[in-house]
C-alpha cells in the first residue's frame, strides 16, 4: 500500500514537471545588436549654412512643414 502511494506521488510529480516544462521555454525572438558604425561621420541637418547650427529653428521649420500635410488645418475641413 505504501509502495503504491509512493508510485502515485512520483507519478503526480512527474506529470506536474511535464506540464510545467513549457513554462521554461526560452524566447525565440532574436535580439539584434547594433554594430558600431565604421564609416565617415555625418553632420546634422541644422549645421548647414541655412540654419547655422540653430537646431530649434530647424525643428520649427520641419514641424511647420509637416503641418502642411494636414489639409484640415491647411485649407479647412
Amino acid at each position: 500500500m505504501k509502495a503504491m502511494r509512493s508510485i502515485f506521488i512520483v507519478a503526480i510529480a512527474a506529470g506536474a514537471a511535464l506540464a510545467l516544462s513549457a513554462c521554461g521555454e526560452r524566447p525565440q525572438v532574436i535580439t539584434y545588436k547594433q554594430g558600431s558604425y565604421q564609416g565617415k561621420p555625418d553632420t546634422p541637418p541644422w549645421n548647414g549654412a541655412q540654419w547655422g547650427g540653430n537646431k530649434q529653428q530647424w525643428e520649427n521649420a520641419i514641424h511647420q512643414r509637416a503641418q502642411d500635410q494636414n489639409e484640415y488645418k491647411r485649407i479647412g475641413g
Partner: protein, 211 residues
C-alpha cells in the same frame, strides 16, 4: 524632436505611384532601383487597398545588425543611413529587411551587383550636406533645407505622411476623427454630403427618378 517616420494611410492611397516618381526624380535614382514602391492588395475586389513602402527607418534596424562592415548609422533625428564608400554590396541587409528596402543597382552583361541603395528620408548621407558628392551617391538632402521627403510632400491625396513621428501621428489621429471609420469613410453620405436629419434627400441621393 522625436524620430522621423513615414505613415501610409491605406484608406487614402490610390496607387498613383506619384511617390515613386517623386523619389526617382528628386534623387536621380538609377534605372532598376526603386527606393519606394506601391503595394496593392486584393486588386479588383472589394476591400482593395494600397500602401506605399520604402525604408521604414526602424528604431532597431535589422540591416544595421547584420551588416558585416557596419556601414549603417542612425542620425540624431532617427533616420537610418549608410556609407556607400564602406558598403561591399553583399546583400545581407536585403535579406534582413522585412520591407525589401535595400536595392542593388545591376550593371554590365552579367548583372554585377553594385553598392546598396535605399531611401534616405531625403537626408543625403555622410558627405557634406548639399554637396555634389552627396547628391551623386545618396540623392538630395531635403532635410538640411528644412523640407520633408519628396514622396510625402508630393502625395496628391496626402496618404503618405512623413516627418516627426509625433507630428504625423497627430495629423493621422485628427484625420481619423474627422472621417470616422468603416462605412463612414467612403459611404454615400460622405460622398454626397447627405444632410444628417432633415428628412429630405439631395437630388443625387434620391435614386434618380427619370422624367
Amino acid at each position: 524632436m522625436a524620430r522621423m517616420k513615414f505613415l501610409c494611410d491605406a484608406e487614402r492611397c490610390i496607387a498613383c505611384n506619384g511617390c515613386v516618381t517623386a523619389c526617382k526624380q528628386e534623387n536621380d535614382v538609377p534605372w532598376g532601383v526603386n527606393r519606394r514602391r506601391v503595394v496593392s492588395m486584393n486588386v479588383g475586389v472589394p476591400g482593395e487597398r494600397s500602401i506605399s513602402v520604402a525604408c521604414m527607418h526602424c528604431s532597431d534596424a535589422p540591416c544595421m545588425a547584420v551588416c558585416p562592415v557596419d556601414c549603417f548609422y542612425h542620425t540624431e533625428e532617427g533616420v537610418v543611413l549608410h556609407d556607400k564608400d564602406l558598403c561591399i554590396g553583399c546583400g545581407y541587409c536585403f535579406y534582413a529587411c522585412p520591407f525589401g528596402a535595400p536595392q542593388f543597382p545591376q550593371t554590365g552583361a552579367f548583372g554585377v551587383r553594385g553598392k546598396m541603395d535605399k531611401c534616405t528620408f531625403c537626408a543625403g548621407g555622410p558627405e557634406p550636406d548639399g554637396s555634389q558628392a552627396e547628391f551623386e551617391k545618396y540623392g538630395r538632402n531635403r532635410l538640411a533645407e528644412g523640407k520633408l521627403p519628396a514622396c510625402a510632400e508630393m502625395c496628391s491625396t496626402k496618404a503618405l505622411l512623413g516627418g516627426d513621428g509625433n507630428t504625423i501621428a497627430d495629423i493621422y489621429r485628427d484625420r481619423v476623427l474627422h472621417r470616422g471609420k468603416g462605412a463612414e469613410v467612403w459611404g454615400w453620405a460622405t460622398a454626397y454630403k447627405l444632410p444628417p436629419s432633415n428628412g429630405t434627400k439631395p437630388a443625387a441621393a434620391s435614386g434618380g427618378s427619370k422624367s
